[in-house]
Every structure is written in C-alpha cells, then in structure tokens.
Symmetry: C2
Subunit: 455 residues, 2 copies
C-alpha cells in the first residue's frame, strides 16, 4: 500500500506547459490607460525582456533552464500522497490524492516561479527585485530565490498580514530580503492611500502599486518588479506541479482523474496543478477542474469578465480578467494570499470558455476542513490551502451519498506553520464568515472606464 509516490530528479519535467498554445482563441492583449493595446517595449521598465517574451509566447513547451532545474531539484519533484486517512474518516468511496508543495524551502508552491523569475532577471543584468506579498508566501519565496542569485529583494507586505504573521518578515530577512508593511510611506501610491485611509489594512492591489512604483522609479535601470501570480509566465512556471502529478498518478495506477481542485487567488496555484489536466480536457477527457475561492473575495464566481488594472494606482496595464474592481479592498481574513480583486487572464479565459467549475467557500468551513485534515493526514496547511480541502470534503461526501468511486486530486499549496494565529482565532471562536460584499464590489466596478467592457 503506497501512501505516496516520489519521482527521481531524472523524472522531473524539463519543460513547462504553455496553455496559450492550446486555447481556442489567442488571449486578449493588455491595454494602456488610453484603452489601446500595449506591446513589449511598454512593459520593459517593469519586467526584463526575456520574461516579457515568455509572457507573450505561444509555444506549447518551453525549456526550463539548467540553472533553474539545479535549484528546483533541492525539493522537487514534490510528493504526491494518497489521503487514506482522510478517506477513512469521511467514509468515502472517493480516492483522494494531494500534491504536496509545502516541502519547498519557503513552504509553498511560490518558489516554482520565484526561482526562474530571479534567474531571468539576473541574466538580464538586474540587481534588485521589488514585489508585493499577501500572506507572505510569495515575498518569502522571492527573498529565497534572490538569495540564490545574489539579487537584492524588497517586499511590500499587505499591512493586515504583516501584523497577523510577524514571523514572515523575519523569514524574508533571514534570506536577505527587506519587508515593509503596505501601504507605506515609501511610495507616492502608499502615501496617497494613507492620506485618506490611515488605518487601511492594505491589499495586494495597493502593494503591487508600491512595488511597481519603486521598480520603475529606479534610475540605475537595474531594478525590476516580480509578480507572484496573475501573469501568463507565472502560470507557465507553475505547470511543473501538474506535469509531475500526472506522472505520479500513473505510478499510482490511476488511468482517469475525475476532479482537480485547488484554491485560487491570483490563479497560479490552481493553474500550476490544473493546466496540464486542462490540456486533456480540451482534447476530450471528462474531467472537472475546480478553482476554489473565498466567499469574501469571489472574483470567478461573482466577478465580471472585464478589463481591469492589476493594481490600485494604475501602475499596471489593464488586463482581461474576472474582477471585483481594482479599488475593492477585501476583508482582512487569514487567507491573505486569496485577497485579490482580479484573476489571472489565462484562468479567466478558461473560465469564460466554460472549461472550469469555480466554487466559493466561507472561512469557517475552510478552517474546519483544515483541522480535519491535520487530525487525519497530519499536515497543518495554510489557510489558502484549506479552501481546496473544504471543497474536497464536499466532493468526497457527495461521492459517498451517490455511492460513486471517483478520483480527486487537490493541490496542497503550502503549510500553515506561519499561519497558526488563524487556527488560534478559529479555536477561540473569534473568526466569522464574511458575506459577499456586494455593495463595495458594485462601487469598485462602477469606477472602471468604458473600454473595460469585453463584448
């Protein structure tokens, strides 16, 4: 009875999978503030050209550089586990598997893209990267990756998370990164928010504005910005998760997967696991792909497909995505990595084409699911990951009611060792569910320009 399947280094995928090559329509282009499409050169103050090329690539398979592989090998391929103990506790006929990305140095899937992003920036002659972080998983991962290539790293951390998760900044500091709470006084964007909302809990959209502002404002030309989700090249780098998972499921003897489930904030964790399976679905396989979001920040299940900014201050282009409006500030819940108004354009396009079955889950159900998982499988997961587990438990119970065997695979995106305050608040009864903030979203959406509408 195998409880997990490992792969050797020589079995690790050596190319990333680019969904763009298989979509029925090419992705819509990003737009400038005037509503007109923008090209690579207009992005070059923000990202190095080698990553911009990757962002726009239509090649199906893209080689992973040797220097990147050498670092990923430290913890990859990650294990795929069969959740026997959870299955037993639920009494379900479903076979549940989870891909464990928590074994990376930073404790999540984020280093999968942090390492190549640091590498490509280094190759392009950069000396420093700036970024935003929500719960801190991405800022930690980028600090780690920068330490490997001798780059400086500056992280703007969403203020509510900065104080909820104080250990995160020490972790970044250990890898040599600098972490400040956002909104900060270090940028125009930050100062503008603080002037009107001195107690702002911050948001990813605000932190992105600050990080981009610092990058483009560096006159030496050797600072760039790195984004931990949303963009095409980030989705691309994460596909190593799903590519490994498919090999591992085959070694478990599974010929068919019924459901692939992962939490979704900006989209990269879901995309990383699901896109390689989405390729099978587009080729005719019967398979349900379920991104799971919080009910308090439900871009896929309640948002509108429109052009919107990636940040709050307009430092980024307009991207085609499901959005709740870039000025919407989500509740300061514990799953900080899911507090984002928009959704990856590629995930959004797949949803728009009817290829995904998005779900939203309330906070208390998520923590309850996480505790069940800890007591059965033993792993204490990040609050973000708990959204996937809550949905898995729903599906496993449905399988029991229907008496159906089925194969469920979910993404364990990160561990919860630095999120234990959330568990403590859950146990003490301090947590509540947040309703869908319909009015705030409507107000934010009303601010979008006319060209935001996608026909």
């Amino acid at each position: 009875m195998n409880t997990k399947v490992l792969l050797n280094e020589d079995e690790m995928p050596r190319t990333w999978y680019n969904l763009v090559a298989d979509l029925s329509k090419p992705p819509l282009p990003p737009l400038g503030p005037d509503g007109k499409p923008i090209g690579p050169e207009q992005l070059s103050a923000v990202f190095p050209m080698n990553l911009i090329e990757q962002e726009m690539s239509t090649e199906r398979w893209i080689d992973i550089p040797e220097e990147v592989l050498a670092i990923l090998y430290r913890w990859r391929p990650t294990p795929l586990h069969r959740a026997y103990s959870l299955e037993k506790a639920l009494g379900t006929p479903a076979r549940i598997y989870y891909k464990n990305e928590s074994v990376s140095p930073a404790g999540s899937h984020k280093p999968n893209t942090a390492v190549p992003q640091a590498y490509y920036n280094k190759m392009a002659g950069m000396k420093k990267l700036t970024t935003e972080t929500g719960a801190g998983q991405w800022g930690s991962a980028l600090s780690f990756a920068c330490s490997q290539f001798g780059l400086e790293c500056k992280v703007y951390m969403v203020r509510s998370s900065y104080f909820q998760k104080p250990y995160r900044k020490f972790l970044m500091q250990t890898w040599g990164g600098t972490c400040v709470p956002s909104p900060s006084n270090e940028t125009q964007a930050g100062r503008a928010i603080l002037a009107t909302h001195p107690d702002s809990p911050g948001s990813l959209a605000i932190a992105i504005s600050e990080a981009v502002e610092e990058a483009v404002g560096d006159r030496s030309g050797t600072t760039r910005y790195a984004l931990g989700s949303v963009l095409n090249h980030v989705m691309l780098h994460q596909t190593i998760i799903g590519l490994e998972t498919k090999k591992q499921l085959a070694k478990f003897g599974e010929k068919k997967v019924d459901q692939v489930i992962a939490c979704v904030g900006g989209g990269s964790n879901f995309a990383g696991l699901a896109f390689p399976f989405l390729a099978d679905k587009m080729a005719g396989a019967e398979i349900e792909l379920i991104p799971v979001e919080p009910t308090s920040c439900p871009s896929l299940t309640k948002g509108r497909y429109a052009y919107d900014l990636g940040d709050v201050a307009g430092m980024t282009p307009y991207l085609p995505m499901y959005t709740l409006g870039h000025s919407f500030v989500p509740h300061a819940m514990h799953a900080g990595g899911l507090r984002y108004h928009g959704m990856s354009p590629l995930v959004s396009q797949a949803a728009r084409e009817g290829l995904l079955n998005p779900k939203a889950v309330p906070q208390l159900e998520c923590f309850q699911a996480a505790v069940t998982f800890a007591k059965t499988e033993g792993l204490v997961v990040a609050p973000e990951t708990s959204h996937a587990i809550a949905q898995v438990i729903r599906e496993a119970k449905r399988a029991k009611e229907e008496g159906k065997e089925k194969v469920i695979v979910f993404g364990l995106s990160g561990h919860g060792f630095l999120d234990l305050q959330g568990y403590a608040d859950y146990f003490s009864g301090e947590l509540t569910n947040y309703d869908y903030p319909a009015e705030e979203v409507a107000a934010a959406m009303a601010e979008l320009p006319e060209f935001a509408t996608i026909g």
Copy 2:
C-alpha cells in the same frame, strides 16, 4: 548531478537498530531513590510494559510494527541532500550531506519515536499520554502521533519557550493536544517551584516532573508518560534516520564517511543518525562521531559521568549519564530542545568508552551558521540544528586549510519556521553568548547523593 537521494517506501528500513547489542559492556541499570537497581515493574506506572521491554531489550534488530510503518511512510524515507551550494560558499574540498528530518508533519525528527510510543501505548490499552517539551518540537510530535491513534495528549511546555514560541501551542491544539506552561499550578512539583521561584523560566527537568506526576497520579490507570529523548527505546526508534542515510550515501556513491555530526540535547537526534555508523566504528571503520551541544548547557563536554535523576523532583529513576545536575536550570536560550542537564545513558556510555568526539558551540556562531545555511541551501533550520551546522562549517573550513577531501554527514533535525523570533533577536543584536555556568553546575552537582558516583 544529483542534489538529493530519495528512497522508495519499499527501501525503508523495517527494523530498528539497538546499540545495546553491540556495546562492550551492558548498560548500567537505573537506580531507585535508595540507590538500588530497579526493575520493569517499578516503571510500569510510568510506561506501558511493551515499551519497558523494548527499553531493556538486548536484541540487535527490532521489528517496526506495520501500523507504525504505515504512518511513517507519509514522510519517510526522508531526503538526503548534498550541500553543493554551502560547499561552494565555503570553498571547501569536503563533500557535505544532510539528512532532512524537517519534512515530517511536526517539522522535526521527533515523530519517529512519537508514533511508535503512541502505538505501543494504544496497544497496551492507554487512553492518554502526558509529556514535557522544550522548544515544542516533541510536544508537537506527540500531539500529532496521539491524533493518529485517538489518544489524549497533555504537554507541559518549558515556560521560557512557551512564551518565546507561542505558535507551538496552537500547533499542538490543532492536533487536539493540550499545552500548558511549566512550572504550572497543576501539579505538586510545579507548585513547589513556583512557591520559591515565581518567575522560573522552567526547564525540561521541571516539566518532566510535572508530566510524570500527572501520569502516575491518574487513578484510572490509563494514562502514561512519554519521553521524547534520553531513554534507550527513544534512541532505538530514531535509528531509522541513520539506517536510511547509509543506504542513501551508497546511492550517492560514497564508500566511506569521515564525520557524522548532529546536535545533542537529550541525545535522540544524534543517536538516531550516528548509532548505525557507530556500529561500523566499533567494527573497525575510521569515522568520527561528533555530538554538538551549546556551551551554555554542555553535559558531554563539561559534565560528569554519574547517576542522576532525569527530572528535578525525583519522579524518575537515577540514570547513568553525563550530567550537569538535575537542579541546574540552563539559560533561556533559543535552542530550547538542548536545554537539558543530562544525556542519554547510551550516548553517555558511548562517550565514556571514547567512541565519540563531543563539541560545544556558542549561540552566536550557531545563528551565524544558520543564516549562512539559509542563504546557500535555502532551508531555515531550528536553532537546535544550527549547532550541527556551526560544527560542520568548522570542519569544512579545516578541510580547506588542510586541503583534504572528506565526507561529512550531518542531521538537519528540524525546520525553524516556529523559531523565527530567535533569528529576529539575532538580527537585532539582542542575542549574546552564554558562558559555561560553572558555579551553578557545581552547586547542582553537590546535591547528588553518594551513590551517584560511578567508579
């Protein structure tokens, strides 16, 4: 270029190695408060008989029960990594390997014995386990293990660590365990300390007294005590670490190991990695086995080999060990798991027979080593583990000076995600080195009874 070697589940050792079978002399027996040897029946209020039998076993190989293997398989065999990046940073000709125990659910090597201890107690009809914990690694591990067998778990956590590492109690709580700071008001032993030292930072020896008192005081007879180190059966359970490591080194193509290095508090982390190599040494192999302890609590390098109590209140027998005196309270440094006055009788006997080369390292050098390791290999380790790394760096530099290739293997006993306050204090310059507390140790040693002397 392999950066790590994994093993499949079917390559995992299915027996533990018992050093007792190979020692030149049988271990000295434990003594009661009257200085007379005590037998199994006198321990039966503290431990279940199946574990007492294992404690006294002289068999070389002992089968690991299937139920225990099924749980260990979730994260074992653990990876053995080659530290290429650290080697490069040090410019050393040494080849450095580390066995990564941080991938367990609790984040350290402790579940290796927590799981079998919970299993044997369950088999013996027990319903609850009590224990002590220093930094919280052991208390977390036992909470996890108890959750797997439906046992209650009560943890007395050394007070200085309880407040230094608040997340640890939430982790135990997530697995269903209960954690209180020690000394507590819940036991006679705790109340006696608080009466004279209301601000006592606590110690492992005090917490053990409390945990044993609760176990033996339970009139239902279904509560027992579990110890996370020191005892023979704990050393036994940890040998799976070294047994796996030997197989993995062979797959790396290494025929000879020069140095095995691990941090040492009660002894189980060191014993787990080193005892299987010690067997080779006793059979004639040239190999240096280096337990590394803090200069502030140096039982092996400065202590006396004598009979001493395992705890402060005399709830345990007298054990033959290197000790600093059971009433000695070590400084409240961050490596809470190394704050113990005594040393495992088996590790002590090996040291007494000249088979080990113990070293002591000061706190600042350890944190410096941990930061070097984080920036090179990427992993943020527990403060306990940093002691091993500091010694590895010393040895690697010596190899460079001497121009000698050599093979060093060290134990990465746990991650530091719940110890980041220690790193923060290090960065802020708040940490200092603690000198060897000679006077306090002399005072504690003067309290030992006459029969404590071992000829």
